[in-house]
């Protein structure tokens, strides 16, 4: 057998674990599941349940038994820092400022699953547990552990789901997040008690348990009375220096390690110490936020996947090899759901929520995720639960987490609380433009152009939409961003204030940016969606990627601005071949023509030796039918084989080219840049590419010219 050095084995293991966890996490996020779900499953896949089952040699080579202790230490260190982060994220305001409903629901969501879990232990104890002859309180430990394990709610995963679905600003979301925070604290305190009971089992009766209890009381007292003020000094030091230096990070980690050491020594587990230290760190300032940002990437990206892999190595789904065991698994899942979902739902209904809202709260509280895995590992390590029960409970944790998003979507669809809900009240009369903004610094050109198209009438509305995809850190932590939600739109709003253009900001988190742009446009009944083009990382097409999806999903007119320094347009060129999109381009130009001093040139390209199309004249006349526009309008007919070359040539004299999508121009919405986009590439000035869905309403009428002259089209023919 080839001997590989321990460090090489460890590097190989970590490499495989990280790659698998990122890949499967990413895959799950594509199916609207929390990324952490995929990472948990990746861990299980690397263990005996999949890799070991189908390719035992590979599993033995990657995870030789001798290498596991080192992996275990890394994994334990990871969860220790993670629990410290969870404590750091805990907002005491959530727990202190609870309303009556939150108090009732949080209590019920702990008591009901705890009692049902303990009751289940009565049934399972003679079947799935073993009696250790040395233990005096074995059933007590099992019953209390099953109760605590059923009571847990994965606060970080729940917060992530709330943020992704924009539920966190609703009453349902606020109640759920408060209850989850309370449940988390309570469950960890209960677990500390259970650990003390379980550890006392294997020694000598009640005396060690009493010693542990006494030591725990002293520990908690010291933490509140001595360590907490000490941690406050760290905040003061941070405030004085204004930055988080390495001494501060080291001091915080030292406090965490000391707290974890003491709790492990007392007998209530190191994780509780790490959690409590995090919870007692001073909240409200930037110190804790910066500290958690500093620690989280390494913990979440590097250490936690190792914990998942180590959990996976211990999870043997193959042990569930008969119908009875699968029956018990279903029973555990049913009891877990009945306790958590049932308890929370009934309490919420009792507190005055509708059945639908109550069910949504129940479903959210039933999310267990990673926190359940932490508890299960403690139970297994203590010998309270057997291998088969561990596998069953891991399955329960995965299933209750995985079912949350789809069932929530079904029970509490977005239209009940999201953009769609307020539709009748928020739709405004008059012309409206929606401008989706991707980056905080972008959008000045879009705003100016949108303002010009919308006009200065009071009834016109410009919506600035910033859709934020969920970021990775939210997979594990609260994810409720402390920064103001409209923060990314601030530069744009400031610019709008300077221009005296009223803008209504809309910001929320979404996984489906194009879909939500389309939905907001539909919901607000926008006349035009106008967005910028940003060069994609992959592909070069202007009308590809997100732009393509917006163009294909949005049921309103869309305009894409290729901004080459747009700062107002006095000379506008509108190439015209006759498509409905070209007509929209003329309509947009007509709205811009409402501004004084704007010159519009309609460029009609025809084949050599042909005169202008009479149909085209009619269309142009109908679009520019209002009095007063004839002075501003020039209709140019160009004979040439290549319409694109003609546009590029005439565009040199224009500030802005407005052009309809269409294959004739080499502009068609597609995913990748297979087709030529010569116009977009070669036109040196700003370009607005428009796609028609319905006709734009006419702008406010211009003041009539003396004598009431109507616009007339006088063609001027030349050759290219």
């Amino acid at each position: 057998m080839v001997h590989i050095s321990p460090i090489l084995t460890l590097l190989m293991q970590i490499g495989i674990v990280l790659a698998a966890s990122r890949a499967i996490g990413w895959l799950f996020s594509k199916f609207n599941q929390p990324q952490v779900m995929g990472e948990m499953i990746a861990g299980i896949m690397l263990g005996p349940s999949l890799l070991g089952l189908f390719w035992p040699q590979a599993m033995a080579a990657v995870f030789p038994p001798a290498s596991l202790p080192l992996l275990n230490i890394l994994s334990q260190l990871g969860v220790l820092v993670f629990m410290f982060l969870i404590g750091l994220e805990l907002d005491p305001k959530l727990i202190r400022n609870r309303g009556h409903a939150a108090v009732l629901i949080s209590h019920a969501s702990i008591i009901a699953p705890f009692i049902l879990g303990s009751l289940l232990a009565l049934f399972l104890f003679p079947r799935l547990f073993n009696h250790d002859l040395e233990g005096h309180m074995r059933f007590t430990a099992v019953a209390l552990f099953m109760g605590a394990a059923m009571s847990i709610t994965a606060f970080p995963v729940l917060a992530r789901i709330l943020t992704e679905r924009n539920l966190h600003r609703t009453r349902v979301g606020a109640i759920a997040i408060t209850c989850a925070a309370v449940d988390d604290v309570t469950a960890w305190c209960l677990l500390a008690f259970v650990v003390a009971i379980a550890r006392a089992d294997t020694t000598h009766g009640i005396t060690p348990a009493l010693i542990t209890a006494g030591a725990s009381v002293i520990y908690v007292g010291v933490m509140f009375l001595v360590v907490r003020p000490l941690a406050g000094k760290l905040q003061m030091y941070y405030d004085r220096t204004g930055r988080l230096n390495q001494h501060l990070v080291a001091a915080a980690l030292l406090l965490m390690m000391a707290s974890a050491y003491v709790t492990e020594k007392i007998g209530i587990h190191a994780l509780f110490g790490a959690f409590l230290m995090g919870a007692l760190m001073p909240k409200g300032g930037k110190f804790v936020h910066e500290l958690s940002v500093r620690l989280e990437d390494f913990t979440v990206v590097f250490l936690l996947p190792i914990f998942f892999a180590f959990t996976g190595l211990k999870t043997q789904i193959g042990l569930l090899d008969n119908v009875e065991l699968w029956g018990y698994t279903l029973l555990i899942i049913a009891v877990a759901c009945a306790g958590k979902f049932g308890g929370s739902t009934i309490a919420a209904k009792f507190s005055g929520f509708s059945w639908r809202e109550s069910s949504a709260i129940g479903i959210l509280m039933n999310t267990r995720g990673l926190m359940e895995l932490l508890i299960l590992n403690i139970g297994r390590e203590l010998g309270v639960i057997t291998d088969a029960v561990f596998a069953m409970m891991v399955l329960m944790a995965i299933i209750t987490t995985a079912m949350t998003t789809p069932i929530l979507h079904w029970v509490y669809p977005r239209k009940l609380f999201g953009e769609d809900e307020s539709a009748p009240a928020t739709v405004k009369p008059g012309f409206s433009v929606l401008i989706p903004i991707a980056y905080p610094r972008s959008g000045a050109g879009l705003l100016e152009l949108a303002g010009a198209i919308a006009g200065r009438d009071a009834s016109q509305t410009i919506y600035a939409l910033h859709l934020r995809p969920p970021v990775d850190r939210e997979a594990y932590r609260s994810g409720i961003d402390p920064e103001p939600e409209a923060e990314p739109l601030q530069p744009l709003l400031a610019h709008a204030a300077k221009l005296k253009v009223p803008v209504e900001p809309i910001t929320f988190v979404t996984r489906d940016v194009p879909g939500d742009i389309a939905r907001v446009a539909e919901h607000r009944k926008c006349d035009l969606v106008m967005m910028g083009f940003h060069k994609a990382v992959i592909g070069t097409a202007i009308l590809g990627g997100t732009v393509h999806r917006v163009l294909s999903q949005t049921e309103t007119n869309v305009a894409i601005l290729v901004d080459r320094g747009y700062r107002g347009a006095k000379k506008i060129l509108v190439p015209y071949l006759g498509s409905p999109h070209d007509t929209l381009a003329m309509e947009v130009a007509r709205r811009l023509g409402a501004q004084p001093g704007v010159q519009i040139t309609i460029l009609h390209v025809v084949a050599p030796d042909r005169q202008m199309n009479a149909g085209a004249v009619k269309v142009v006349e109908s679009v520019f039918s209002e009095p007063g526009l004839s002075e501003q309008l020039k209709f140019k007919v160009v004979q040439g084989e290549d319409p694109v070359s003609a546009v590029v040539q005439y565009a040199k004299d224009a500030d802005l080219v407005i052009i309809g999508v269409g294959e004739e121009w080499g502009l068609e919405s597609h995913l990748f840049g297979f087709k030529s986009e010569r116009i977009a590439e070669e036109v040196e000035n700003s370009l607005l590419i428009v796609r028609r869905h319905h006709p734009l309403p006419a702008p406010m009428p211009l003041p009539p010219l003396p004598g009431g002259e109507r616009a007339g089209v006088r063609g001027e023919t030349s050759q290219v």
């Binding site: 009556h100 108090v103 009732l104 209590h107 019920a108 008591i111 705890f114 009692i115 303990s118 009751l119 232990a121 009565l122 399972l124 104890f125 003679p126 079947r127 799935l128 547990f129 073993n130 009696h131 250790d132 002859l133 074995r138 059933f139 007590t140 099992v142 019953a143 109760g147 211990k314 042990l319 090899d321 008969n322 065991l325 297994r380 390590e381 203590l382 010998g383 639960i385 057997t386 291998d387 088969a388 029960v389 561990f390």
Partner: protein, 123 residues
């Protein structure tokens, strides 16, 4: 004391009472003995064999020299380990720490001595 406080008080009291009842009932329950771990045969009449027992309650996986046999423990006259092909009778772990498995069908006796408990405290 208002109605809400009374409600909470009653909820806490009843939850405590139910939990107390569960713990009282459970203390009378008997779970199967824990045989999980590494064993080896010590009797002279059989070839030296290495046996691993993986156990979750009554569900036992008996691994004899790499051959895994799923069995179930049943409590009748002593514990019986029933597998798909054969059944073992046993009186459990004896005072000297040995586990004697007897297959009456083939008149085979296996005397096992534990060499290690299950790893990391689990079963």
């Amino acid at each position: 004391m208002n109605r809400t406080t009374l409600g909470y008080f009653l909820m806490a009291i009843s939850a405590g009472a139910i939990l107390w009842g569960i713990l009282r009932l459970g203390s009378r329950l008997q779970a199967p003995p824990d045989w999980s771990g590494e064993w080896e045969t010590v009797a002279d009449d059989v070839q030296h064999r290495h046996v691993t027992i993986q156990q979750s309650g009554v569900y036992v996986h008996l691994n004899m020299d790499g051959q895994i046999e799923p069995c179930k423990l049943e409590n009748g006259y002593g514990w019986q380990l029933k597998g798909p092909h054969r059944s073992w009778s046993t009186q459990g772990v004896l005072g000297n720490g040995e586990l004697v498995l007897t297959d009456y069908a083939s008149s085979t006796h296996l005397t096992l001595r534990r060499t290690a408990k299950a790893a990391d405290g689990s079963h």
